[in-house]
């Protein structure tokens, strides 16, 4: 029997989508073994989030509401996760492979002297009932399956790799407050400020659709046609760039997709003027559908693309934008 604890993630009082993705994975593991799913949500003024976590599939929600948890801190949140593990005594602990999960889970895993599989795309139970994780390695050039043999078994989940369950408002989780003694004055590291980037509303790692440009964009100004296409596609769409474009100064590094940039996993990746260097493919090849537009018919990107167009991106991008607007207008 696998009892699973998931770490919900909220920013400014809103649940991140990864929270329900993690619950969906936990639900599968628990249901396969007759276990249960507990979710812990931490923050300041977050009690209201418990209902949505129950609707997403949690059996029990632990709420840790404390002023010291208003902004993220490694010390504060690690104390919360350690307390939730002590309370729920889970066999498995899951969180998102987000900047929070990446900071937090290894710290807690080290404290508990246990194993952790990062950035997993699939989780199942082995014949011994313990967690088996499948995850990309070598920057997405291969996968590995690893067996977790410690207690609890921990994993972080790649965003967008699992589908959340449809919220079921009739499901009601058992909600309990978990009291954790915290004093922000004793934290050795804490976030004092969050600065939202101006342009993008959705981060590359969370985007459902990515419009990406390479060196063939020629300059930073030309990225505006990609933003126009992203705007036409609408919510959940943002703009990325190849390393060549970033190194040429056309886009900031925060927009870089690839081995030394962000690893993305959207349902649609549109690559404009990106040749498809191995280090770029490493960052986007798990995209569900890939479109390549390039002047060079031999560009390696075409080998990975579901749909390829050989042509001039400066003609094609505006035409695609118009075609998208038309189809959206028709509904």
């Amino acid at each position: 029997m696998a009892n699973v604890l998931t770490i919900a993630e909220q920013r400014e009082g809103s649940l991140k989508k990864i929270s329900s993705e993690a619950i969906a994975v936990a639900r599968q593991l628990a249901d396969a073994s007759g276990g249960s799913v507990t979710t812990v949500v931490a923050g300041s003024g977050v009690a209201g989030l418990a209902q949505a976590l129950g609707a997403s599939g949690a059996d029990k929600v632990l709420v840790v509401d404390h002023a010291a948890l208003n902004l993220y801190s490694t010390d504060g949140y690690a104390a919360v996760v350690a307390a939730a593990i002590a309370e729920a005594k889970p066999d498995i602990v899951l969180a998102g492979h987000t900047t929070m999960g990446r900071d937090l889970l290894p710290r807690v895993a080290a404290r508990l002297d246990t194993g952790l599989a990062s950035d997993c795309t699939q989780l199942t139970l082995g014949s011994d009932g313990k967690l088996l994780a499948t995850r990309p390695v070598f920057s997405g050039k291969a996968y590995e399956q690893i067996a977790l043999i410690g207690n609890p078994q921990m994993a972080t989940i790649r965003p967008n790799s699992s589908k959340p369950r449809d919220p079921d408002a009739s499901r009601s989780a058992q909600v309990a407050n978990l009291s954790v003694a915290l004093d922000a004055a004793t934290f050795h590291s804490k976030v004092v400020e969050v600065r939202r980037s101006a342009g993008a509303k959705v981060d590359l790692t969370e985007a459902n659709i990515i419009v990406s440009g390479g060196r063939a964009m020629k300059n930073a100004d030309n990225f505006k046609i990609l933003w126009e296409l992203a705007e036409a596609i609408g919510e959940g769409c943002t703009v990325g760039a190849s390393r060549a474009a970033v190194d040429s100064g056309f886009a900031p590094h925060s927009m870089q997709v690839g081995q030394t940039g962000k690893v993305v996993n959207p349902s649609l990746y549109l690559a404009f003027g990106i040749s498809g260097a191995i280090q770029h493919l490493a960052g986007m090849r798990t995209s569900k559908v890939i479109v390549a537009v390039n002047k060079d018919p031999d560009a390696p990107m075409f080998q990975k693309a579901d749909y390829g167009v050989v042509g001039d991106l400066f003609q094609l991008v505006p035409a695609i934008t118009e075609a998208v607007k038309k189809i959206k207008h028709e509904g």
Binding site: D103, I146, R195, K304, A323, I327
Partner: protein, 264 residues
């Protein structure tokens, strides 16, 4: 200040991965091994921190086989002062916890005020060793850092970490572990005199027994074990879309994305 940098030798980013017959690892033949790119940012930040704090020392620590010495020499050639090489068959096959235990024990012999590491190594991509080492040392941490200022008294620091859709500003007390993201700095190249000097710098080899860690590191200490390494599923061949005009191509592409792929 006492400054430490953790580095790892990994295959170069352009490497084409071949899986061995037992599916346990890659075939190393023909692979060019280099310093993992994020470790270069860590070395550079260590050197810059030394340059701002007279009388500091930068110690490189790396766990790896014989060939890792080449990467350690690169760090020394860039300007690091000395190195510790955790080299023993018993260190091999560990997970992040076993590796972090070995590194933390070696770091305790140095007693660093600040430790720099890459945000992740580009082979295992676990992104765990930095924060695990911080926990095992009882140090504070800031991960995925793109800017860092250490206070003049060397007791606190302010780090910028890149998060989804923005940045977090983190205040932390030293000793601290900082994991480095691209954008933090531009790593320097090793100079020819630097390469010459590096040959004479100390590289101390340590084994598990030297750290009192027999049976706790490498495969013996691992809490996660690789079952197998698998190639990526091949994508099925794609389709070329052709048309008389850009408008015709665009209309057909968008139709396919909606009706066939169902993604728009």
């Amino acid at each position: 200040m006492k400054i430490a940098v953790i580095i790892k030798q990994t295959p170069d980013t352009e490497t084409v991965i071949k899986i061995n017959d037992s599916a346990s690892d890659i075939v190393p033949a023909g692979v060019k091994f280099v310093m993992s790119p994020y470790c270069e940012f860590a070395v550079e930040e260590g050197l810059r921190t030394k340059e701002k704090n007279a009388g500091s020392e930068v110690v490189v620590v790396s766990l790896g086989p014989d060939r890792a010495l080449e990467t350690i020499r690169t760090a020394l050639a860039m300007g690091c002062d000395r190195a510790i090489h955790l080299k023993d068959p018993a260190f091999e096959g560990g997970d992040a916890q076993a590796t972090a235990k070995a590194l933390a024990a070696a770091l305790k012999t140095v007693g660093p005020d600040i430790v720099f590491a890459g945000k992740q190594a580009i082979d295992g991509d676990q992104a765990q060793v930095g924060p695990r080492v911080a926990e095992l040392l009882g140090a504070s941490q800031a991960t995925i850092v793109t800017a860092l200022e250490i206070a003049a008294d060397g007791k606190t620091a302010r780090a910028t970490r890149r998060i989804e859709g923005g940045d977090e500003i983190v205040e932390l007390t030293l000793p601290a572990v900082i994991t480095c993201e691209k954008g933090l700095n531009e790593p320097r190249y090793a100079s020819l005199p630097g390469i010459m000097k590096a040959k004479k710098k100390e590289v101390k080899e340590l084994k598990p027994a030297d750290l009192g860690l027999e049976g706790q590191v490498g495969a013996a200490g691992a809490k996660a074990k690789r079952v197998k390494l698998m190639p990526l599923p091949e994508r099925k061949p794609g389709r070329r879309i052709e048309g008389e005009t850009p408008e015709a191509i665009a209309t057909e592409l968008v139709r396919l994305l909606r009706e066939e792929a169902k993604v728009i």
